[in-house]
Amino acid sequence: MVEAVRMQRWLRGIAGSLALAAIVFYAMAVVVTEGQTALIMRFGRPVRAATNAGLHWKLPWPIDQASLLDMRRRVYETGHTEMLTRDKKNIIARTFVVWRIGDPLTFAQAIGSEGGAESKLDGLLTNAAIGTLGGHDLSALVSTNPADLQVDQIESELMSSTAQVAMRSYGVAIDQIRIERIALPEENVTAVFDQMRAERRQFAARFEAEGEREASRIRSEADLEAAKIRAKGAEEEARIRGETAAQVAKAYGDAHRTNPELYRFTRSLESLDRLVTGNTTLILRTDSEPFSLLQSK
């Protein structure tokens, strides 16, 4: 019994002190999650910022109050702004910025809300863009010649002309500024269209001409080649015929040299054979053979 009572007291003691500890803890502890900052305000005036994540302490409610700020990065796109490049060309550009709260105290004092930051950034960026792009030609942004392009330089100029001001005046840290879009004013697009059309026509004409020229080159080359081949063939034929004639002559010559007299005789007989054809009329004397044989009988 006594032991049970003691146990009861002990348990009560534990429960009571735990509850008290919890109340004190929740009144004084500030849990700052990653990506947040706690702004500690004493009687409504920001006194310090707990930027590191973890457990922080403050005085209980009526004295200190903590408000949590979102420190995540945010993307802000400016409006499309018409501006003039150094070579006096009208362009419409849009930039974006990746920003975060860099100095919570300054931010809270200068801006207060996040929407406020964006309108401040818009003005800052638009001015910077007009100033920076006014110092570069359009070819620094779009060009097929890599030596002309200066996008990195333009972006770092934008950065250097905004980052410090943003941090000092608004407590905003700028991580990145980029040109998101480059376009042309509506009234200039017509001219670009005309130029593009002319360029297309020129290309089409060039392709046609090139095609024809190439085709006729291929054809004439082929014809030339064929003629060369045919000439070579004719030459070869002549050579073969010549060789054959020589060989034939030699064969006959070798044979006929053995008996030129017989050759002359057989040759004249052959001539006779050749001369007397189907429409030859022979006139023979009756005293020549074989007719003479008939006469003598």
């Binding site: 049970a4 998101e180 670009v192 017989l262 189907g278």
Partner: protein, 359 residues
Amino acid sequence: MRKKGPPSEIGRLAAPIAHLLDAAWQRMHWWVGLMALLYLLSGITIIKSDEVAVVLRWGKLVGATPALQAHGPGLMFALPRPVDRIVRVQVKRVREISVDTLTAGAGGPDEDDSSPSSESTLNPLTQGYALTGDQNIVHLAMVARYRVRDPAEWAFYGAKSEDALRVEVTAAMVRSLGEMGVDRVLSDGRKALIATATKRAQAGLDAAHAGLELSSLELTSLSPPTALAPNFDAVQSAFIEAETAKKLAQAYAEGTIPQAQAGADLTAQQARAAGISELAAAHGAAGAFLALDKEYRANAAVVRERLYRDAVERAIVGAATVRWVPPPMGGSYKGFRITLGSGDRASRAGSSSADEDEE
């Protein structure tokens, strides 16, 4: 606890339950202990196979480096709730957004009035487009696929994924297009364009600490303005025609040259064949002559006579007509006239003896 007074009927019936409750109350510290234990174990969880978890202790990330912060799939030990908080991130899932900031008729808030102006001009606010390096205009639509690379950065410090991707991809594409000519962009440069834009977008995402990895960037459409489509098509068809003309010429060349070669080969071959047979005939004739010569040397008069008679006979048989005339009186013909078959061409045989029967 309250065991005073005599046990009533109800009290007697309820005694076992009261006894049980009493016993449970007696072991209260066990119950408390058990609950405390369960509470302490409540931080243990299972991380699924496609997830990674990071632990926040009093809001602060546990682990110094991203590699130490991220816990892979499996059983995970953490402290219970107010102390530790577990944040799960699906790192393997590939997400997709379509980026249509540079798409025709999808650049701004009021798209309705895009159609009437589309013929002669473009409103940069309502119609998305980009300039190429040679200051041509193209419309394009993109799809970006991405996944979380650095869970802690993505979960706590990065900008919203969709925002960051849209602007980074657009900026990267605008810049990459600004370096290339329109003809390269619309033909063989597309792959290079995507590659440089992807690289640039990733660099931008890294600079913006988005904690994202761009796994692929796809161009779902890429075209010149509709008003200029016929002009681009004309170039395309001119190109195809030129290619066709070249192909036809090549086909002609490929036909002509072998044909000429075959012709040349044929003539040479025919000459060769003719030569062979001519030569063979010559050899045959020469052989025959030699054989005849052999015979002639043995018996010249007989051979000569035979040959002569054979020839005369052949001549007589082969001739169309044979006329026989008497021998001339006194060695010459006087007024003898021969009329040839054709009649109109007559030749007179003079005083000389007829030549036709000459030996």
